[in-house]
């Protein structure tokens, strides 16, 4: 509200100066001042919000991470790096990092291969191209909650009437309790396939955009040189997709690191989450916001995870490319 009135108040003032006839020098000074003012009218509200809702919590959390902050956000007991030592030596925290590694090892290559494969197929489909693109893209409209619901209660329902178990039954196989057994860990199949369905269309669109940026003259030159089929793919298409591929890989990795929704919805029942398959954010959720409300350890965990993800992003170096003139 305050922002809106401030900007409206400033508006007539500049119109006035715009019309006024004054000596050149004074006018330029006035104009310069106005530029600074106008910069902050445009950028100020956003930056103020960003500082208050992003920077303040992060700094506050950094401060909390050095205190014993159980059930309080204004702690007094300084513990130094105690919370960090506790977190790094907590087997459950290290397990959560391991869970992420396992999850990423499944989901990153499968999503990459499937979305690239679909993009190549759709890109060469002259007939009904838009239709196929739409169908593969449509799951992006669904939330992880919806996918978890369908996967848990119908597709991979552990009882006989689940669709996958029904199909197994046609081949004379026994129904499988997909989510409630640990040996073998079938729950990975459920978790990975749900995310695969949700996100493949998104990355397919990115690959399609990459494919459509490849100049047709390259293909024409390859055809003149007698290249066909796999050779074209190997020597023209794949090298031209390097930029898109590395962007997709980074996005996949960062998104896998933040996995929470499908784990939470698929695996927890009646408010209970099993002790296995806890990715970092699920672990953090139960540490900081569970019964303990342990903001000291929770903050230390958040700082460690933030550092890990920032290192990955920095190593990739893509996020730091400003200007975007590629």
């Amino acid at each position: 509200m305050a922002q809106a009135t401030a900007t409206q108040g400033a508006d007539p003032a500049t119109r006035h100066t715009g019309r006024a006839q004054r000596p050149t020098l004074a006018r330029r000074l006035r104009g310069d001042q106005n530029r600074n003012l106008w910069f902050w009218v445009f950028v100020g509200p956003f930056v103020a919000g960003l500082v208050f809702f992003v920077y303040v919590p992060i700094l506050w959390s950094l401060w909390l991470s050095f205190y014993d902050a159980r059930n309080t956000v204004t702690p007094t007991v300084f513990v130094g790096f105690g919370n960090y030592v506790d977190m790094l030596s907590d087997p459950a925290f290290r397990d959560s990092l391991l869970t992420f590694v396992v999850f990423a090892a499944f989901i990153v290559p499968t999503t990459f291969a499937l979305s690239l494969g679909l993009a190549l197929l759709v890109n060469r489909a002259a007939l009904m191209q838009t239709f196929f693109r739409s169908v593969f893209f449509l799951p992006t409209a669904c939330s992880y909650v919806i996918a978890s619901l369908v996967w848990k209660m119908s597709l991979f329902s552990g009882v006989r009437f689940g669709l996958v178990n029904t199909v197994l039954g046609w081949f004379g196989l026994d129904p499988v309790a997909w989510l409630s057994i640990v040996q073998p860990p079938w729950y990975w199949l459920v978790i990975v396939s749900a995310r695969l369905w949700l996100q493949v269309g998104f990355y397919m669109i990115l690959f399609l955009a990459g494919l459509q940026r490849i100049s047709p003259t390259l293909y024409e030159a390859a055809a003149v040189d007698g290249a066909q089929g796999w050779k074209v793919l190997r020597y023209i298409t794949v090298p031209q997709l390097v930029a898109t591929s590395s962007a997709v890989l980074l996005l996949l990795l960062i998104n896998a690191f933040q996995a929470f929704d499908e784990f939470f919805n698929l695996l927890s029942t009646s408010g209970q989450y099993p002790p296995y398959a806890r990715p970092p954010l699920v672990y953090l959720y139960y540490t900081a916001l569970g019964q303990g409300q342990d903001f000291g350890h929770g903050s230390a965990g958040a700082v460690i995870l933030t550092l890990l993800i920032a290192i990955v992003a920095l190593l990739q170096g893509r996020l730091l490319r400003l200007g975007g003139d590629r």
Partner: protein
Amino acid sequence: MSIQRSPLEKAGSGLRYLVLVAGALLFLVPFYLVLRNGLMREQDITAAQWSWLPPQVQWGNMGELFSDPAVPMARSLLNSAVISVVQTGAVLVLSGLAGYGLARIPYRHSGAVLWTIVATLLIPASVTFVPSFVLVSSLGWVSTLRGLIIPGLFQAFATFLFRQYFLGFPKEIEEAARLDGLGYWGTFWRVVVPNSFGFVAAIATITFIGSWNAFLWPLVIGQDQSSWTVQIALSTFLTQQTSNLHELFVAAAIAIAPLVLMFVVLQRWIVEGVERSGISE
């Protein structure tokens, strides 16, 4: 290029369509399951014998869901609608203005401001849910719409995309507007915005989808039933080991209907939004 298609190529093309059709059917199965189960009676869903179509279509499931006191469906749909619409509108205005200011208004410290914004891109919002919760609870905003909406309004990535877009906006159009006596404010609203419909629509659709489907933040903040979004209502319903499958699935159908409709109508803008958000990141 007119090259005769060999029989091998024709066979390859046929195989390609076979794979595409099979894949498309597989991708549609979950949607089919939502509709099938949502329109069935409970005993038909759990029947030992699989039936592809509801033996008896139950349109009444919807009425039953909305009158079920255990699931605040109407309220949570309303909450989701308010949150998504307000967030989308506010993100467009805040990030649009900031992006334009960064791209077009010369200012000595403009670079430093840009870095302040871009630096936050290194830290995904979901990883900082603990500190954000600490702040929001200190403000007393837990279980309020304010707490659900306001912390999500400052999207560094949207601002960055707007800046990139405005850098490429044709300068001549703006200069003509300046000659007509419009200041920065007037140029932005009367000339730049009306000529940026496609880009604004792309960012709007992407923001709306993200907002409607958000889960972790609404889970953390929406502790009272009155502040549940539709995702939280569904999740609670789902994780409470319900034996009420027909209501659960009709609720799922209602929750995805607005977005599926949006995808069908606005697909062009959504695809553009995805392309832009994926490539620049």
